[in-house]
Amino acid sequence: MNPPAYLDYASTTPVDPRVAAAMARCLTADGVFGNPSSTGHVYGAEAQAAVEAARAQTAAAVGAEPRDVIWTSGATEADNLAIFGLAQHAQELGRHLVTARTEHKAVLDPCRELERRGWRVTYLEPGRDGILDPAQVAAALRPDTVLVSIMHVNNEIGVVQDIAAIAEVCARHGRTRLHVDAAQSVGKCRVDFAGCGADLMSLSAHKAYGPKGVGALLVSRRRGVQIEARQFGGGQERGLRSGTVATHQVVGMGAAFGIAAAEQEADGRRAAALAERLLAGLAALEGIARNGGGVRAVPQIVNLSFEGVEGESLLAAVAADIAVSTGSACASASSEASYVLRALGRDERLAESSLRFSLGRFTTAAEVDRAVAAVTAAVRRLRRIAGVCATTN
């Protein structure tokens, strides 16, 4: 039997072969294997040049300056560095943060940790479409608010927040900095760090056909953003992230981001056509609700809830045919429905019975058709077992 069709690109992507080739050149004795900090010899100098070229590629892909880029191990580390680093630097000015309930755990958990340390955090509720109104941010700001952290593209439902409008709100307030988790954005929509007015931005390589284990935090030099380091020992990355830079990883990220920026429009058109094919194929099933989507969403992420089926059973029934994510965080007695879908007002059962289809550069029409067939059969069968007929929403 064929392996299941991979439709979980929002979770991670395979490394693009062009990226893998660039990375491979940085590993062995006949390549660029030196320590980029050891610039006293040619091996280190070559590595440093490769790292700086990757920095320039990464910056160019997201509208940043190369000097803004701080390499990290991924977006989670970048989120932590942004939130704790800014909080530590700005704590004399205030101890209040604003974020949204639909953020990734890599933002929510640091916020909760700061709460534990005595900070105040306001968690904004987006509308049922997943979109935040910038006026909500404005209303949440207080004299002691030092940071707003809002994600660009939501990882579960694909909606895109109006970062420029939120940045304007923060700028009007004065000393409030804006951090943007853009882990899902690159390759799916245009990212313009300098143009959108954000102060800090987290990036991930492996969501954009780069390797796992590398990401970046953009820290705007032009806007004079200052944060405190969380890691010490060598002073690399402007002293903000000590440790030998992994040349092959950052070269992979630079190559991946370069390709993503160049091919974003073509990738987006393909994904939109495939998403339409998926939705059209599933249209015959009643009792489906789309989570997110709409005009302000990337085409690569399609999140659907299926009435009348239990979430774990749905995932188990389609697992042989497709690899997707579910709206249930854990398939056990204490399973927790997706907090993102719950925040949109979905009831627990409907949130649990959701599937996130995320399409990517290598997704084919045949894979989408296989998904349609598998999901249609599974939903009909499980509804029959449950003795229910779906009602349309």
């Binding site: 239990e310 649990e352 229910v388």
Partner: protein
């Protein structure tokens, strides 16, 4: 979540899924869809020379794969047996047989409760 072969087989086939209708059918259910697990059994009994025996049993379930598999197995095992409130194996034995995570034991108790409710309904029907 990984499922053992038995769970996978009964979840995938679920041949006893469905409902029985007509005279002499007793129905029992337990749990709730709103809480995430609901199971119903329908039982039909025939009177024969050997006494009352279950002629057919069907189940319906809004539940996880383990619960569906166990309910399907219980319905499969029922035919030809004397109607009794006890399952062919107790829930702990079923938990081991289907390798159900311990935190899901409560769901197997819902299967047991649904079966007992069906047997109770059968007894009440007989008394009437």
């Amino acid at each position: 979540m990984r499922y053992n072969e038995l769970t996978r087989r009964y979840f995938d086939r679920a041949t006893a899924a469905g409902a029985l209708t007509g005279p002499g059918v007793a129905r029992g259910e337990a749990g709730s869809r709103a809480q995430g697990t609901w199971v119903r059994f329908d039982i039909r009994v025939d009177e024969g020379p050997a006494g009352r025996l279950i002629a057919a049993a069907r189940f319906q379930a809004f539940a996880c794969p383990h619960t569906i598999a166990v309910a399907a197995w219980v319905a499969d095992q029922a035919a030809g047996r004397t109607p009794a409130p006890a399952l062919p194996q107790d829930v702990h034995a079923l938990q081991r047989l289907f390798e159900v995570p311990i935190e899901k034991l409560g769901r197997l108790l819902i299967v047991e409760d649904a079966w007992r409710a069906a047997i109770r309904a059968l007894d009440e029907e007989t008394e009437n």
